[in-house]
Structure formats: structure tokens, C-alpha cells
Symmetry: C2
Subunit: 254 residues, 2 copies
Amino acid sequence: MAKSIQSLQRAAAVLRLLAGGERRLGLSDIASSLGLAKGTAHGILRTLQAEGFVEQDPVSGRYQLGAELLRLGNSYLDVHELRSRALVWTDDLARSSGESVHLGVLHLEGVLIVHHVFRPDDSRQVLEVGAMQPLHSTALGKVLAAYDPVARGEAVRGAREQLTARTVTDLEQFEAIVELTRSRGWATDVEETWEGVAAVAAPIHDRRRMPVGAIALTGAVERLCESGEVRPELITAVRECARSVSRDVGAGRF
Amino acid sequence: MAKSIQSLQRAAAVLRLLAGGERRLGLSDIASSLGLAKGTAHGILRTLQAEGFVEQDPVSGRYQLGAELLRLGNSYLDVHELRSRALVWTDDLARSSGESVHLGVLHLEGVLIVHHVFRPDDSRQVLEVGAMQPLHSTALGKVLAAYDPVARGEAVRGAREQLTARTVTDLEQFEAIVELTRSRGWATDVEETWEGVAAVAAPIHDRRRMPVGAIALTGAVERLCESGEVRPELITAVRECARSVSRDVGAGRF
DNA sequence: GTGCAGCGGTCGGCATTGTCGAACACTGAT
DNA sequence: ATCAGTGTTCGACAATGCCGACCGCTGCAC
């Protein structure tokens, strides 16, 4: 691959920096964090601001991400083929199981949630579309690591953070889980990422049997599990749903 | 304002073009649409792809928006101060009224939805966060046009598309509505944007009384309205909610 | 099978373009 | 009043990204 455009690389780094920092960032912080001259960083920010990718607080002068990113992110979802094909199936799964359903794809060093069906009751729930989940501890992540060599590489290479008491961080144990997942075709997460939360996931393949994403059923551990294991009928339902989406994706690819 | 960085402007134009076109676009289409040489467009796309802002279908070679945009758009929501302060109030409003609630801000020539609370029942609903609404026909848009001079300018200048039989497109009538909205402090949309859908909206101000957004209650016209008018208790509830958020925003700004 | 027309991708010369660092106006705290 | 910060502007320099011709490939048509 030939060389990238320098100013674009830097602009992308600025956006990622702003996305990482919780609070608004000042120009000097940004410039020094990226090793740029203040004037250079200012030029990039000025342009990003004019395009709506970045906003500036008029009183403090600090910068934060802009609204245009939200609009473009939404457009991304509109075009997302896997997501559109999964809509009805995931909806059915949430309805029949009474739990929330997530659709995730591999992105960078984690799982990006591209669709989220709320649990069908009146409880308060926050939408997680656009959020990232770790590869090593979540059901979605394990499934992707089991079928996608790139995901597996990231999970093995990356830091497997200890999120709860039950998180598996040891490399050998993790690889055994990946192996088990590939052989049986599904993965679970029983309080390995969040206390009290369990999940089951199954992979989605395209017609060349390449993994393109995963579907997960997530809910309170006391509802999903029986004596420490996820209830078999839920596992079946998730796998069934993932197979349906796979068929749908494969069929439409001509 | 000094000059913008050319390559960034062009990259932003590429992203917007990809966001606009429903389908994936080819390199030549992009280059000719923006009046660029193919080599130039390719350099920009190559960099955007490396950064994750654009993805390329390996078989057709066509380009579409990338996952990084979704992630960044989500980060934008995390930092959004107005949204975070409005969360609890809008939730209460949806709960007490039994209808869905939207929080919108002015962006470009329309209203950008930054928060959406689903109607609290089991019906299928699509999340509209990140979507745009027109200024001239929606309740949110009218409120923003009434209080924000920039929004008003956009609404007056822009094309006021006829969306339903009841949409007001005439400039004079529209300005009368804006005037009425400002004097009474709220706006409605009874089947002016979508058939069968009605809405009420009220403005959110910061402590300098500058408009920063608007809150709307949206639902089926037969539930929200009585003899062609939105029910008074709903109008009161929306205004109350908007005032609460305004107080919250104003109080936290020190 | 063979031609052609379209695609995406590459390369190198030219000059436009973005970079850099110093100087600027301004704010707020010392 | 001073000072240490901030975000911003500016101009000179050369590195940078732009352009247009060229390449290899695919797929359609004949």
C-alpha cells in the first residue's frame, strides 16, 4: 500500500484523541499529545470545525467532537448490509426470548455493536449501538476470535484486562475457550465482563463461510442461567437466529 | 477565518457524498462527482480506509462509510452535555405521557436528533438518534427556528418541501407560525411531516437564554390530539420538561 | 476467443500546499 | 502589575499532496 496523506492521518488522530478523552481538550494539549506544532494543530482543528466534525466551546476555547460525526455514523448504519438483513431476525429473537439482542462486528481491537434490540419490557435501557466491547471476555468477542483469524490475533496480542472475578486473562485458558467455541459453534459469557450479566453468542457467516459478525443474547444471569450454565433452549435460539441471518446474507450476495 | 486545509475539505466532501448516496460508490463516480482527478480521489480514499472511516467491498471495489464513524459518533454522544443532562427528564416525560420523546439540536439545515426515548410499550420502534428532521414542518424545527436566528435563516432560505397535504410551504404563513411559536413558547406538528403523526415541542435555553436545543413529544395523531389540537396537558408536560432541562443546563455551567 | 471499454490502482514531476515556529491578543491567577 | 497560560495569526520555506498519463485487470459484447 502506498503512502497515506499526512494531514488526513493527523486529522484522524485528532478525532481519535478527542473521542478518547472524556472531557474537552485544549489546543495545546492536542498539539503536544500528537507531537505537532500548535499552528499545525490549529489548522487541522479549524478545518474540522468548519466541516462540523469538531466543535469548540466559545467560552473556554476547548474542542470536542462535532455533530456531523453522529450524522455520518447514522448513515453508516443505513448502508450496513449485515445490519439491515439481521433486523427482523434479531427482533424475533428478542421477542421470543424476552431478552436484549446485540449484533457485533470486529473493529480494531474489539467488537463494535452495530445493532441493539432492547429487552421487550418497560425497564430503562441505554442504547449501546456504536459502543465497543472487549474480545476476550464477551460472548460476541469469543465467537469472533474463534472464527476470524484477525480477531483471534488481536485477542491474543492485546491486553486481556481483568474485568470481574471470573474474567479469563490467562493465554492458555483463553485459547482453550476459543478452541471449544469453534468446535461447538457458540460461546458464553457468565459474569466475565459485567457482574450479574450473562450472554450467549453465535457467529454469522457469508456464503464463503467467512465470519462477518456475531449475534448475542444478553441478560441478567439469574434469568439466563440455570446452575451456572446458560439454559440450552436459549443457546438453540441464538444459533438458530445466527443461521437465519447467515442464510439471508449468503442468499443476497449475487 | 483563515484558509482551510484542502485535503481535509475534500475528504469531508467524500464522506458526505458517501453518506448521501444510498448505495456504495465507485472510485470514478466519486472523483467525477467532486471534480477531482482519479489519483487524487484514490489517495484520499486510501487514507480514509486506513483510518477506518471508509470501507471497500473487496469484490466490487466500491466504497462505503466505515465503522470508525459509528464509534466516533457514539463518543460524540458521550461528551454531549445537553444530552446527558436531559436523560432523566426526557425519560420521565416518556413514562408519564406514554409517548416517545426526542431531543434535537440545530445542525446544518435541519434538526439533528441526539436523543430518543422509545414509547414505553412493546411495539417495534426504530431508533432515530443521528437522523435529521426538516426545520419547517416538525415541531422541533419550528421551535428552533423561532428562537435561534441561524435556524430561522436556514428555514426561510431553504426549500420548504411539501411532505404531506398539511405541510406549510408558503413563506408568509411559515413566518406567522414562527412568530406564534415565539410568543407562546411551544410549537406543534399535526401531520405536517408524516401522515398520522403529531408532535409538540418546547425550547431549551442556557443561562444566557440562548436556545441550545428542543424537546418534542411524538406519537399517533389520534392519541395526541383532540379535535385537531394537541391535548393541553401534553403541551404543559413538554414545556415543564424543557424548563427542567434548561434549569439543569443553566445551573451546571459554572 | 478476442476485442474493447470500463474499472481501480500506481507512479513521478511539478508547484501548490500544508507545515513550522515566532509573534500576537487575550484571559485569569498570582 | 506581572506572568504564565491560552487560542490564534502570519509568512517563509520546502515538503507535500495534486495531477494526468500509464498499468493490469475484469467483464461484457461481438
